[in-house]
């Protein structure tokens, strides 16, 4: 009897979505996308995984409430499993979200053979997992300090050692099966973007409880509602995703933006039932040379072109003619990231807000040629930035001009003026005559070495002795979070495309979290707190402008650059465009059917 009801619901749902469930599957199993990961994946639990490559797989299998429009730039939030964008009321403190009906998890023994519909309770369960102390999720910050009663529940769990998923949390009000109302502690206009970040994807509680390991994670058994299923996984070597036959599908109907390439994409893709690609075959290839040769050999359809390889494929940001002649296409974007150089503000040598310390940092900042680093270290594959918020992120101001310029002579003059005198060996001392050495820390890889060489050169040009400290990444993280590093280049990529995600990097209370330079400037902190209470607009922009100027005059950091992301596509790939926030786009583009056996092509 119960079974009958389920079936009825299923059929109804099918008719409602105007595409009967089994027939929704448009993907062609012959359309196989061959893809390569630069680093091995770790696993596929949305709450725990934190590396980019696993996230690409997670985004194919699981679904968030919101996602981003494929073509719109800057990235535009659109509903995924939600019916519409959230209704924000109560001055940014209440979000009401409705869920589409008739979305089902892919079949799994955990569901006892029954279809399992996605409900808002699944989302609440998935959010709660992020704050479960047992899981120690690296994504807990997404909800920390935001939702009414949520932090209190996490605190109780830390005491009892057990997160009570059955106890309701006041901030997550389930109005009905398909409606969630979220009550926030403070106004926040960015929660929609948080709900598009893949750690907030819906998992099913039955699946987690059936397959979880001792620490509560399910890394190897992803069951979601998304367009693809994990059909084969050889760890660290190969991942095969096949189209989910139960996926509801959608008709490709994105609008062309200002980008001239968009029209061709729209013309080729409009009206197609998605997804089209039936299988995504991912190999892990760690070495640059191997990946590049495999692409030329047509073993890879879509290649992420990493820095050292860029000159092989690009001249001045354009594809080399011989590659273009083969029909290969380039999709090039500026990543929503900044790399900035920080000086530890708590350090006795470089830190502090006295004029002599400010002069020291500003002199170093003026002596550093960001463009040369881009040319030499990044093979020209980056743009220098003026503003802490990179292009493509809400709050970016293309007209903002930094007051910091490359001017080594002025840097030397400034150091002379503030009493950093040169000794007999040509190196400067501190104004009190004590020796002056600044330690620059970087990773042990080749980029780290080259960055260190750039800085060594810079410091030599202004007569300051530099010590280089190359460390393994985990050691850097530890020292950095404890404010033990003197200076480093720190990259930050957007979690969600809003300026707040960048401005918070220099907020005093975030020291030991992600304020890596341990910056604490009261004038900055005051303005940041005010900006948090405002939605995007001229008022918030004015605060951001002032904050950017504070970063320039007090010089706790020097703003560096944002790197390009270059994707190369073989001629078989149709309608591909790299998205700045979405990790993988294979849900949105198509391929021609193969005519010949690709493994035998030269």
């Amino acid at each position: 009897m119960r079974r009958f009801n389920w079936l009825l619901a299923l059929v109804c749902a099918g008719f409602l979505s105007l595409a009967p469930w089994p027939a929704a599957h448009a993907a062609d199993p012959d359309k196989v996308l061959h893809y390569a990961f630069v680093a091995p994946e770790t696993g596929f639990d949305p709450a725990v995984t934190r590396d980019l490559y696993s996230a690409e797989v997670i985004q194919s299998i699981f679904e968030t409430l919101y996602t981003y429009d494929y073509l719109a730039r800057p990235a535009k939030l659109v509903p995924q499993t939600a019916v519409a964008l959230p209704e924000i009321t109560d001055g940014g403190k209440t979000y009401t979200i409705h869920l589409k009906r008739g979305i089902y998890f892919s079949p799994d023994p955990a569901f006892g053979g029954k279809p399992r519909e996605l409900t808002m309770a699944d989302y609440v369960y998935s959010f709660e997992r992020l704050l479960d102390p047992k899981l120690a999720s690296p994504h807990s910050w997404l909800f920390e300090g935001k939702v009414v009663g949520f932090d209190e529940a996490a605190a109780r769990a830390r005491e009892t050692g057990h997160f009570d998923y059955d106890a309701p949390i006041p901030g997550f009000e389930l109005v009905d099966r398909y409606t969630l109302r979220i009550h926030l502690k403070h106004p926040d206009y960015n929660l929609g973007m948080i709900l598009a970040h893949e750690p907030t994807s819906a998992v099913a509680r039955e699946v987690i409880e059936k397959y979880r390991d001792a620490s509560g994670q399910v890394m190897a058994h992803p069951v979601g509602t998304g367009a693809y299923l994990l059909s084969k996984w050889v760890r660290g070597s190969r991942i095969v995703l096949t189209a989910n036959p139960g996926y509801r599908g959608f008709i490709w109907n994105f609008k062309a933006g200002s980008d001239p390439g968009d029209r061709a994409i729209v013309a080729a893709m409009r009206g197609k039932r998605m997804p089209q690609i039936g299988k995504v075959d991912i190999r892990i290839m760690v070495e640059d040379q191997s990946r590049w040769l495999a692409f030329l050999d047509r073993q890879i359809d879509l290649l992420e072109l990493e820095g050292p390889l860029a000159p092989k494929a690009l001249v001045d940001g354009h594809l080399r003619p011989e590659l273009a002649a083969k029909g290969i296409r380039l999709s090039r974007i500026i990543d929503p990231e900044i790399s900035y150089y920080y000086w530890n503000m708590q350090d006795p040598v470089v830190g502090g807000l006295s004029p002599a310390k400010i002069a020291l940092r500003r002199a170093i900042a003026m002596a550093y040629d960001v463009q040369e680093e881009i040319n030499v270290v990044w093979n020209g594959e980056a743009v220098p930035l003026q503003y802490p918020i990179p292009p493509g992120v809400v709050g970016y101001d293309p007209d903002y001009v930094s007051s910091v310029h490359y001017h080594p002579r002025l840097a030397n003059a400034l150091l002379d003026r503030y009493g950093y005198r040169r000794g007999a060996d040509g190196y400067r001392t501190l104004p009190d005559g004590k020796p002056l050495t600044i330690t620059y820390t970087a990773r042990t890889d080749s980029n780290g070495t080259q960055e260190s060489e750039m800085w060594k050169k810079t410091f030599d040009s202004i007569g300051i002795r530099m010590a280089s400290n190359l460390m393994q990444f985990p050691d850097i993280l530890k020292a950095e979070k404890e404010c033990h590093l003197q200076m480093r280049t720190s990259p930050w990529i957007a979690d969600y495309p809003d300026g707040d995600n960048f401005m918070q990097l220099f907020y005093g209370p975030n020291i030991h979290q992600n304020n890596n330079g341990c910056t604490e400037i009261p004038a900055y902190d005051r303005r940041y707190e005010a900006s948090q209470r405002l939605p995007d607009g001229p008022e918030r922009d004015r605060l951001y402008h002032q904050m950017a100027r504070i970063l320039e005059v007090d010089a706790p950091i020097l703003i560096g650059y944002a790197r390009y992301r270059n994707m190369l596509a073989q001629p078989d790939v149709i309608g591909y465009k790299k998205h700045p926030i979405l990790h993988c786009e294979w849900l949105y583009f198509d391929m021609t059917k193969p005519k010949r056996d690709r493994s035998s092509t030269p």
Partner: protein, 312 residues
């Protein structure tokens, strides 16, 4: 015989204990702190403390050591910190690809090196001998990194003789298609030192009395070399090959990285990069145990080859 094996196994215990202590001191005591990398990019001290508690690295050292010893005794090293995969599964799945390259490589390398070394020993002191020795020396003087980069570029990509990189699902596909170039590089790198070493083993034997006796009995030179000398020189050769095998598992990491072979060597480097201590510790202990067991096997093989050897 059985008594001998039991005694030898018993004698391994102190060494193994030493390895365990060394590994423990290096990784639990002086090694980096993995909590920071596990905490993600927006971490706070409370979260770090929580992760350390979940991993058990906030316990006193003697407790951690006790847990480690229990893990070894039960062959259960727990799960990788970064992927959640059990360490036993890591080892079981990565061993196959490594051995697919390693076993044919070792067999071919040994056979070829023995053949060449005997041939060179036969003409010892001649110009050919000298030229071959110098060629070996030159070959050995080039870094394996250069061999890999150049061979992959020219033989695989430019000339299309081999796949550029990759690994399949079928054993024979892997063995004959994907392992071919890695094995070739392995041979180029390892035959030269083997040849030099085996040549000295043979020369050692050629100067022995029994060879002189055999010659005076009128046995042909090839027969002396191929039968008598080879049989006696087999002992050091077997020891050398056997005791090298376990460490080769790790030593193949460069080849595995460049040719995308999901083997043990690559896993070790990855684990070091990720501070994945359970995996590193388990692999170290297992490889150390394997080295000792292979040394024992080599001793047992001695006896099979040469019954005069007394096992004490």
């Amino acid at each position: 015989m059985t008594a001998y094996i039991v005694r030898r196994l018993w004698q391994m215990l102190p060494t193994l204990l030493g390895v365990v202590l060394l590994v423990f001191v290096l990784f639990n005591w002086v090694g980096g702190d993995p909590a920071y990398i596990l905490a993600g990019k927006m971490s706070n001290p409370q979260q770090i403390a929580n992760i350390r508690a979940q991993l058990g690295i906030d316990q006193p050292y003697y407790v951690q050591l006790w847990i480690f010893l229990k893990q070894i005794a039960s062959f259960n090293f727990g799960a990788s910190w970064s992927t959640g995969e059990t360490v036993s599964h890591v080892l079981a799945t990565r061993l196959g690809p490594s051995l697919t390259v390693l076993v044919p490589l070792t067999v071919m390398e040994t056979v070829i090196a023995i053949g060449l070394a005997l041939a060179v020993a036969y003409v010892r002191g001649s110009l050919t001998d000298r030229m071959v020795m110098i060629a070996c020396t030159v070959g050995m003087s080039i870094s394996i990194l250069v061999y890999i980069i150049v061979f992959q570029y020219w033989l695989a990509y430019k000339m299309g003789l081999f796949p550029v990189q990759g690994w399949g699902d079928h054993f024979f596909d892997n063995l004959f298609r994907y392992s071919a170039l890695p094995i070739l590089i392995g041979l180029v790198v390892s035959i030269a030192p083997d040849l030099r070493l085996f040549r000295t083993f043979f020369l050692d034997e050629i100067n022995q009395d029994y060879v002189r006796t055999a010659r005076s009995k009128g046995l042909s030179e090839p027969r002396i070399l191929w039968v008598h000398v080879l049989r006696n020189a087999a002992i050091p050769i077997v020891t050398y090959v056997m005791s090298n095998l376990p460490s080769l598992l790790i030593g193949e990491f460069l080849i595995e990285r460049f040719f995308s072979i999901p083997g043990i060597g690559r896993e070790v480097i990855l684990a070091v990069e990720r501070s994945d201590f359970p995996v590193i510790k388990a692999i170290t202990v297992y490889v150390a145990a394997a080295t000792m067991i292979f040394n024992l096997l080599a001793d047992l093989l001695y006896q099979a080859i040469d019954p005069r050897v007394q096992l004490k």
